[in-house]
Subunit: 359 residues, 4 copies
């Protein structure tokens, strides 16, 4: 299933070492003056070779828009786009075609499909997230311009290093002050040191990303199966290496008493809001007008450079030592991916709500 | 959105204090001799008034099957079912129609729909999960009989009390040895004490549920947007009070190094499997043949019996003290709900895989 | 697939001789004061035993509404409903369980599902259209109250007898002046005579239904695959016994020259409209503001009372002579079914358009 | 809505005068050795500039495959493809940007979207059918190789000229013997004369296409809303200029008595089949094993070269005389489009049936 969304729909395609990756956006409202610079900016944040924290694969990631636009504005018809794969080095992968790399998708793709493209992880490569970022940035533009919603994500933790960030005020500029994309500067320094330490040992680390969406009205989300948290969880867990999602107080909240956990309703001028936000802006699966707040967990990168035990395609035990260009930690580059998937999810919820309510 | 699934589809309906709750299952394979006793057994585990740990609302939860069966076997046509609401006491709710209970869905349903049924939480009540359990138990039967898959969930933690359980061997009978549904008997005793302590203080607690599905073949799951973890996450977060999901090592895994986290492939007779299971049985969004393993977080029950600050529908501050029958902790009763949603998700993945592969 | 629609969705269930037929409507906007009398009126038009033109099966067709309403208004949550089967006489069908009735669905249901309910045609009976009429009448109410759209269908032909009706002005009251539901009174008399003649010979006849929807704005329909005509065609061909659909000039139009066929645009006050309506109100798959106009073809009823050659379930040749209660012609009763499916299709198109356009 | 299908899904994109048209196929089974020559052959049949019967626009229609293939075989991941627009002459269209061409989609696209691409009809151009033919030909290959199904379509009528063709035996080679694609050679000559006569008068004609699919097993189709005829009708009516669909005896059948219309079941060796095929191979919405047989109606081409009355975008009356390159009759080129949409529909039905039945 390579289509995401009900009304604003991204269909994604492409392998790591094919000629290109791309997508088709169906259901984009007409008349939008497309902000191509915003797309380029988010792709730049997703790109490899940004710093020592990322892989050295170099891609210009220029987006070719093929349809759905006339005189720079959307026409309501499908927007097709593609981004060339320029720096795919398939020779790095010749050695791995005959074995299954641990905690990669080599084995499962072969089990599922019988026939797979082993070059660079094929479809399982995070290269596919280019399409998510392109479509998600367009969704963000619509959310901002038509609904007043703003999305900011940042690295909340790397390995055991946490951070402290004010979700109500943090900006994307603050996030980008550090290469690791954590707006808590003390934490950011420690995170970067941790990533470089792992890298120097040929190892990798994991981390979490926190995301906030501010400005939503109360009323988005489609219970009981299309609850806003359910759709956000699905969106996040569809990202490469993502293994967890929590909304509001999440797993920590399970350790609290109800009397301490509840968010009291209070009046704020003409508006009803909550005194605290342990609900993460969502109650009963519907936005309550407070900031939507959630976290996503990303496992340590599976490709490290220490020797590993595995088996060949014939089931023979073998030792595998990775080569090539790989990120020591995925979370700095995953920040725009999380923003993109949040935007796709929230815009779809906005359109679904508008369809029935007329608002 | 009250339909779940692509090929095996549950459409759910009903409010807490309406005449009934129910659902329609579309896409059930024909010829299945329906195990009605299994459905009754899972509903009994979901039921209130099981013990002091649960609400005292008494429902017999007899399932009336209205279509899709002939001589006890499924015919491939929609299976409609309903379960009467017998013990709805709407007088308990007269007091709450004019205000918004903290951390409930009163406010968001009203914001979304304008007009809502306030009796017993209406559609936002966990009463709707009856339909999930009925459909999920039929899905479980198909998974067991046609695909050899077995699902077991249990309470992994209550408040700060964790547990230790062997996911490879635990049985549903072991789970049911304690009222709290934790197969670690020492932990279970502490959990029950914790719930009763909270209850005696008019308070509530949260917890987590762990779930394992054993016997899946490698190959289920539909990347990139229908990854098995993504679908499971969505299924869990659609449950009332669920605020988090993690697969395999989950959030803890983000604190590990890649060299320690990876699951080495090993040969086990004719089969290729993994030496460890930090992947939770899923790699690249596709099952790898190891047990599928995940956790879901449930916040403390929003209805406690201590006074709370909130506002009326007109925005006036008011104090609210709950009355009526409510669970002090939802997780013991949520165990069959988690199993049901897991079953619906996995069966759909199985059918999607079979459609294209013929297996 | 027993769900119809993307945003306003009907899930239908039930067999001819089961306890009931029914459905679930998901996505109905909240706040609608449900017009139950309108539902009863359309069901009465669909009902058997109205006249000598229809089957003598007697059903009161009282609708039991089970959810999604509070104080008579919709709440935006699923509306479940059921209608009991009261006059199912299964003994009539004992004789047919062992053979395949010609041009019925006995053989194909058995081929598809292996196990089927033979009583009264089971799921393949037109009894299932009760659910369509209930949901379609609610859709009609929304179309009328929120969008100013009015739908009228009538019998356009029976056997070789055609009719002449002004689609721009015809009313449902005019349609109901004759038992055959043709507003051309001369044609109606001939049609009724034809049906009674066939009936007296133990035979059956077919016919066509014409339908107009007036008051649509320009802009509904979702090309290229969700064109308004494509959705209407699918809706009609999903009705029992329907074997054809045409929009505007349809098959006759294929015999015309383009210069004679085109609809010139003209100005009508502030509005742009067309001088003629061979397009049937749809151009490029999108409504153009002129009345949407289409026809559906219904084959002669498969159950006649003359001896027929067929085979048993074992493939042995046998002679079959039907007994029981059957319509000699389905089109008079199919009028409200066509209106219902048109309403479901148009309302879904309206909501899809509003989602993206805000109008 | 630019996605077609549930399990084998085509997402289509592109405008007539944009850089390219294309599509993404999601859900294609893995391991298929793609028959690129078959795709090229069907595109050649769809192409303009084949003969005097078609437009003189010259496109090489070379397909660029961008993903989903490895070493020539499908990998089960999305297959993206694009076909460049080489001979778009936008200057022809400068004159039409300011008015609404009669019976074209200019007016409705503008009413729906507000902002449209007027060049060459934009998205409403039949140029988009390139994507349908590419995907449909892959679907055809799967149907042939995995399910033994063969599809043949031909021109059944042009204007008032009908034809006589044996649907049980006709081959694609026979269809292609005449430029007009009618295997009845006498009729073909008359059809060609009719088209050239219209052309010489600056006029256009309509026609019908008949299509047969042979070799289906009994059991495909998903009642009650996904009946095989309903899905085929939707597929056909989604084609540009299609205004009608009929299955089996269709509209003619409505004029018959039931006793004459029914298809008796007979035994044919081990198989049960029907003595006649007025059902068009479908009963109760499910294939019965006889050839699936249907017709689609195509209106006369809207662009003729005689002066027409219309209005400008401001509603001012104006006279319009078309220039540029246009087909005098669309049906010869629509033959592969009908085959493609039939293939997409039937393959999806096959996969849906296999998902639940395992066959």
């Amino acid at each position: 299933m390579n289509t995401f969304g009900t009304l604003f729909r991204l269909t994604s395609w492409g392998e790591s070492h094919g000629p290109a990756v791309g997508g088709v956006i169906d259901g984009c409202p007409a008349g939008l003056l497309l902000d191509e610079a915003a797309i380029a900016a988010q792709l730049a944040r997703r790109r490899t070779a940004q710093s020592l924290l990322t892989s050295s694969r170099r891609e210009s990631d220029a987006v070719r828009l093929l349809s759905g636009l006339y005189e720079g504005r959307t026409t309501g018809t499908p927007i097709a786009f593609e981004v060339a794969n320029e720096d795919a080095k398939s020779e790095h992968y010749a050695a791995i075609a005959g074995l299954y790399r641990p905690s990669h998708a080599d084995f499962t793709y072969e089990a599922k499909f019988g026939h797979r493209d082993p070059r660079g992880g094929g479809r399982a490569s995070a290269r596919e997230t280019v399409a998510r970022v392109v479509a998600g940035t367009i969704a963000e533009q619509l959310l901002r311009e038509q609904f007043g919603v703003e999305i900011v994500a940042w690295v909340g933790s790397v390995a055991k290093i946490g951070s402290s960030v004010d979700a109500d005020s943090v900006t994307r500029a603050e996030v980008d002050r550090s290469a690791v994309r954590c707006p808590d500067t003390t934490a950011a320094a420690a995170m970067e040191a941790e990533i470089l330490a792992a890298r120097s040992e040929g190892d990798t680390v994991g981390g979490t990303i926190t995301c906030v969406a501010r400005g939503l009205p109360a009323g988005w989300g489609e219970p009981v199966f299309g609850k806003l948290e359910a759709e956000l969880a699905r969106a996040m867990l569809s990202l490469p290496a993502c293994k967890g999602f929590e909304s509001g107080s999440g797993f920590d909240g399970t350790r609290m008493r109800g009397s301490a956990h509840n968010d009291d309703f209070v009046r704020d001028g003409e508006r009803i809001t909550t005194a605290t936000n342990r609900s993460g802006g969502i109650q009963g699966g519907i936005s309550n007008g407070a900031p939507v707040l959630f976290r996503a967990a990303f496992k340590p990168v599976a490709t490290h450079f220490q020797p590993q035990q595995t088996v060949t395609r014939d089931g023979e035990p073998t030792t595998f030592t990775a080569s090539g260009r790989h990120d020591p930690c995925v979370v700095p580059r995953a920040v725009p991916m999380v923003e993109a998937m949040a935007a796709l999810t929230l815009l779809d919820a906005a359109l679904l709500h508008r369809a029935r309510s007329g608002r």
